[in-house]
Symmetry: C2
Subunit: 338 residues, 2 copies
């Protein structure tokens, strides 16, 4: 099969790769219906995060089960499934507490930009739908696999509740779906920091009430102006840089909640500053598996349409163009048809 | 009157100071019944935190109201009161949310190691008892002013609940009262990191079930051993150094809760490490005022005896010896009689 490999900064190639096989009795093999490129893939694509060798790419996926290992009991060939970017047994004490992305058996998926995919711990990682979903649902179902699950965790970890004032730092696909999630959770006011008209438009469609274009100290001052001088109740940090994290901390009210859901790159938090900010801080790899059943249901019931973040769809043989479009901000997020 | 001043590293002097007067109509003047030395006073006493000029000391206090300003309505002369180390109006939106130590009118108390004290925002800062308490209650009532309130916040911010496994990092007075607080909140297992026999003994009296003497990586390994390999549900960081904070983060289970209640000194948190630790982090100056009514009641009903942390009592003219004894770890905490 043809799978996606990163060879170095901005060097994405589709090349012959061995078709995945069952290697453990708890594995499943999927024929993917859709996969995509993640904002986090751009860290290594841009060379900000270095790679030691040519590396397969992709961790968001949904598709049809082709084959399962002998110890897979719940997932059956022929089912349509969505899985998380982090595998989980969904039975260990950490999973039972809802932190499946830190499961004792966790593996991070990394070969999903391809037509076939091996998924470890299939019973605990994958969620099947009752029926094969109509094709029109594929983008939104694919979104639940990571980008929506991550935005949802961001809102949940930032304690978004009915009536609250929420700030979303970052207008990438995760930030935009953080807006959608905050809206679903009943936030009254949703402020987004964004400078891109097309993203602002989608943010408003998802429920944003205010757009702030200023950054840094000016951005913080503007947020304070909008929140009676004290800051937002819930702040979702969806970028992962030092600047965005500082902006987020300074924009959170004392006693408020700040979540961060992208792997931080070069972020150092000063203990004393955090202490006097008086915020609740929670983040990490989103435990998407916790939310998958609910999110899939919301999609199938047409309550939400997170697939709107895919503003570019390409056949997988144009994967390199998919990366370029996101790198150059011509696309918010690229869906790939395997 | 004679008030305590710090002139430089290990140079504490009692010297003539003007008696405090009402300067704002919301002030009260107290004749202190008891005051004490805080672990946090040792940062500047030891020169780790530098001072620009001779500085008055003390922020823990209880006593009798001598006089109140014209706009003080709830607090009356003759009442016995306890107040927080941070003043608060107790009416602003941040106070109403329970974060009085970040009140928009907050001032940090700093002249309490003296016989008389001016307390700003008296109505919102002080809590009066119905009657004058018997003298035997003074140490425990004094403790509610900061050290118990801070230990209580540490346990609350670390989400201590019935049945949980709690780790307390630090065996100073705050850590010891973190143990007492966790016990009151129903923790099943309370592990304390301590190397000092007298502190271990008090920790056990307050409810500790396990003592760990190892530190650093060995300490973390020992905590993991005691918690089925995953870490504690709730971790109270009661020291404020880089080493203790790292130990605390690494000892918290994924999805668990970590609180930190001492001003961090030289602490830098790596964003990526914190991300993958997957913990909830909350801390800051303890909103003691939120808890004062409940804590005072627990003391007066003899449910708790936090005053046991005072293992040295001196008249205030021996304040310098009080600092020395704590600096040299001959005393856990020194109570001063004004």
């Amino acid at each position: 099969m043809q799978g996606t490999m990163l060879y170095g900064p901005r060097d994405i190639r589709l090349e012959d790769r061995p078709e995945p096989k069952i290697t453990k009795p708890t594995d499943a093999i999927l024929r993917l219906s859709a996969t995509c490129i993640c904002g986090s893939d751009l860290w290594s694509y841009r060379g900000i995060q270095s790679i030691a060798q040519p590396t397969p790419m992709g961790h968001e996926y949904c598709g049809i089960v082709e084959e399962v290992g002998k110890e897979v009991n719940n997932i059956k060939p022929g089912q349509f499934v969505v899985g998380s970017f982090a595998t989980s047994d969904n039975t260990c004490v950490i999973c039972r507490d809802g932190y499946q992305s830190s499961c004792v058996q966790r593996e991070f998926m990394s070969t999903a930009q391809a037509p076939f995919l091996r998924v470890p711990s299939a019973d605990g990682t994958l969620v099947a739908t009752n029926d094969l979903p109509p094709k029109g649902f594929l983008p939104s179902l694919l979104a639940t696999s990571d980008v929506l699950g991550t935005g949802w965790f961001a809102a949940d970890a930032a304690n978004v509740k009915p009536g609250k004032t929420v700030l979303v730092v970052g207008d990438g696909a995760v930030g935009l779906l953080g807006v959608l999630s905050a809206k679903q959770m009943g936030a009254e006011r949703i402020i987004v920091m964004s400078r891109h008209p097309s993203r602002q438009k989608l943010a408003r469609k998802f429920g944003a009430t205010d757009i702030v274009t200023e950054r840094g100290d000016e951005g913080v001052a503007r947020i304070k102006e909008l929140t009676k001088g004290i800051g937002a109740d819930s702040v979702l940090e969806c970028v992962g840089t030092q600047e965005s994290m500082m902006q987020a901390i300074q924009s959170t009210r004392p006693g408020g909640y700040l979540s961060y859901v992208g792997v931080p790159h070069g972020v150092e938090l000063n203990g004393e500053q955090l202490f006097f900010a008086h915020v609740h801080l929670h983040g990490g790899p989103a435990p998407v598996r916790r939310y998958l059943p609910e999110l899939i249901q919301l999609v199938l019931n047409e309550k939400i349409n997170p697939g709107k973040v895919f503003d570019l769809t390409l056949p997988i043989d144009q994967v390199a163009e998919g990366y370029r479009a996101m790198d150059e901000r011509r696309a918010i997020k690229t869906l790939l048809r395997p």
